[in-house]
């Protein structure tokens, strides 16, 4: 399971790094004639048989109702291969500003997944430090740290995140919001890591190999890094697999209610804001694309976790 979990984290990191490079359009460019245009799915067959992947362009049928029709008479190559000057091709549709949903989804992956990765990393670091110290030293440090962890764990996480976020000015630059949300997420995420690390460390501490290392004169930090940390590796990977989707969801929730990233930054959360209006969502269900993307991330995490021992889900 540990290996699969590591692959999962790496794959998400790769998506965050490379996804924008795959975007066919600029995520901020609004195509005027294509407000809420429907998906134009790639096809490989037409009346005459097989052919290279292509799409049928859409034409506006009713401007008031924003209804479009497929123009079966014309075909067009996929957006990556299209020469300039042809009509835009929105593989999974356009939003209400006529911006390409696929491009926004890919750019949004960078913000959303990047934030979750950063927050997971900080939460793992913080949790390992606190849990490791508590487990290794024991005594009042242990008692205090675990009481604190227990306290944070029973809090309704979303409420805490909301209060912390709402305390700060609503309008901030995107980079500040990124840092801010990383810190807030890590603050509510660390206890889940610390509890397990503490358990493992306090169990391993008295084992022969640790005692041997200490009798050879190894100092506490060295024992911790060289001997105890490897014992926690599997647990930490499992926690990363749990925390990542939870943070992705938290970003989506916060941005959905308007306390996360500003609308101008494409993230999976800010994209979901379009679906807040039931009428819009019913008529243009492709606005739910980020929800589907989140579903697949959470699903892959759950499949990996199911193959190991189940921990409590954070969400």
């Amino acid at each position: 399971m540990t290996r699969r979990a590591a692959l999962f984290v790496l794959a998400l990191a790769a998506i965050a790094v490379f996804a924008p490079a795959l975007a066919p359009y600029d995520p901020a460019t609004a195509h005027r004639g294509y407000l809420s245009a429907p998906p134009m799915p790639p096809r490989i067959t037409d009346a005459s048989g097989w052919r290279a992947p292509f799409i049928y362009p859409v034409v506006l049928a009713d401007r008031l109702a924003q209804r479009y029709e497929e123009d079966r008479a014309r075909t067009q190559p996929l957006p990556w291969y299209a020469a300039d000057e042809v009509a835009p091709a929105f593989l999974i549709g356009a939003d209400s500003f006529g911006r390409d949903l696929l491009s926004r989804l890919l750019f949004g992956a960078r913000a959303t997944i990047g934030l979750s990765l950063a927050a997971t990393l900080v939460a793992l670091l913080l949790g390992t430090l606190i849990g490791g110290l508590a487990g290794y030293r024991g005594g009042w440090i242990d008692e205090a740290a675990m009481r604190l962890a227990d306290f944070v764990m029973v809090l309704p996480i979303i409420y805490v995140v909301l209060v912390l976020r709402a305390l700060l000015p609503l309008v901030l630059p995107a980079s500040v919001i990124f840092t801010l949300m990383t810190v807030i997420f890590a603050l509510v995420g660390w206890p889940f890591v610390a509890r397990g690390v503490r358990g493992i460390v306090s169990g391993e501490r008295t084992r022969d190999y640790v005692v041997a290392a200490r009798s050879l004169g190894a100092a506490g930090p060295r024992i911790f890094v060289r001997h105890l940390l490897p014992a926690c590796a599997g647990y930490l990977m499992a926690q990363a697999t749990l925390l990542l989707p939870a943070f992705i969801l938290a970003e989506a929730t916060l941005s959905y209610v308007g306390l996360g990233f500003p609308e101008s930054v494409p993230t999976w959360g800010t994209m979901l804001v379009e679906s807040a209006d039931v009428n819009v969502m019913t008529r243009f269900p492709w606005m739910l694309a980020p929800a589907v993307a989140i579903f697949f991330v959470v699903l892959s995490a759950n499949v990996i976790l199911r193959s190991g021992k189940i921990e409590r889900s954070l969400t």
């Binding site: 764990m153 996480i157 709402a166 929730t253 807040a276």
Partner: protein, 324 residues
């Protein structure tokens, strides 16, 4: 330690939780820049703002204001909400009830579905049925309340089978108790399902794992060696032991129930505590924010306390002085 003292200690911890959460929220919200005089959009010129601050006690020193609030809270006077122009206590009791209805319907439903299915998949390692349930459970677990409520809203709006959003139809405002109840019954499935489904999947997985572990216990094998059938050993011995880890997680689940309930309430327009908290935060409605946090903490404290009591009831070992 006796059960009485154990439960008393847990109750004190619960009280402490409520106290710390509400005080912390009040102090934090007060210390942060901005207040309801500037953010609620109620007062435009400086004089009005100053008057509003005076009415709310926002111009007083933090310590004095806190002590006043604390003295009031002991008498269930939680202050005045600026946004709703109503006492916070009234608002809270109304909205908390709505959340409690939603959450308990979801929790009961999830338990009724998740635990039996967990017993089923835990007791049968292989086979088509258990495999199907396990697969479904992983898929459903991947639809957290935020996504679930969005998907169900789309479904309801497209099919027209269920009302979209809200808790009651405003048209039926005062047309009798019966109509109101039927109306509520039509509105509750959508948010409750969105909240309950991932919970049911979590319970299925936990119960499944717990029963698998308890089936390996020596006394279960001993029972079978005595001549009990597998299902007898399962019902009378393994299940009882597997209850403890599952019940132990109920305490933690209350927290995720709350987080989920927030998303569901915001998406589907259910007038509950989560929405109230959200509205309060946006307007920096100090006493309302604090009241919501206190109510949330109360719920959680009650939930963990109930889980503790159930644990004691379910696991005889805990009654024999093995309490921590």
């Amino acid at each position: 330690m006796s059960i009485g003292r154990y439960l008393l200690r847990r109750a004190l911890v619960a009280l402490l939780l409520v106290f710390v959460v509400s005080s912390g929220t009040l102090l934090l919200t007060r210390l942060a820049p901005g207040d309801s005089a500037t953010d609620a959009g109620l007062a435009s010129d400086p004089a009005q703002r100053a008057r509003l601050r005076g009415e709310l006690g926002l111009d007083r020193p933090l310590g004095a204001q806190y002590l006043d609030w604390l003295a009031g809270a002991l008498r269930f006077d939680l202050g005045w909400s600026v946004v709703f122009s109503r006492p916070v206590a009234d608002l809270l009791s109304e909205r908390a009830l709505n959340t409690a209805v939603l959450a308990s319907v979801a929790l009961v439903g999830a338990t009724a579905v998740g635990v039996p299915l967990g017993l089923y998949t835990g007791a049968h390692a292989s086979g088509f049925g258990p495999g199907l349930v396990r697969t479904l459970s992983v898929v459903i677990l991947s639809v957290p309340p935020l996504l679930g409520s969005l998907f169900f809203m789309l479904f309801a709006a497209r099919t027209g089978w269920l009302p979209v959003g809200g808790m009651t139809s405003s048209v039926l405002a005062d047309s009798g108790w019966m109509t109101w109840a039927i109306d509520l019954a039509r509105h509750i499935p959508l948010p409750a399902l969105a909240l309950a489904l991932p919970l049911a999947a979590t319970l299925e997985q936990l119960q499944s794992q717990a029963i698998r572990e308890s089936l390996r216990e020596p006394f279960v094998r001993a029972a079978q060696a005595r001549g009990l059938t597998f299902s007898q050993a399962l019902r009378h011995h393994a299940w009882r032991v597997s209850l403890a880890p599952v019940l132990g997680l109920y305490g933690l689940m209350i927290g995720s129930l709350f987080s989920g309930s927030f998303a569901v309430e915001v998406v589907t327009g259910w007038p509950g505590l989560g929405r109230l908290m959200f509205d309060a935060l946006r307007a920096r409605d100090l006493y309302l924010v604090t009241g919501c946090a206190a109510a949330g903490a109360c719920f959680i404290a009650l939930g963990t306390l109930t889980a503790d009591v159930m644990l004691v009831a379910a696991d005889p070992r805990r009654r024999m002085g093995d309490l921590r």
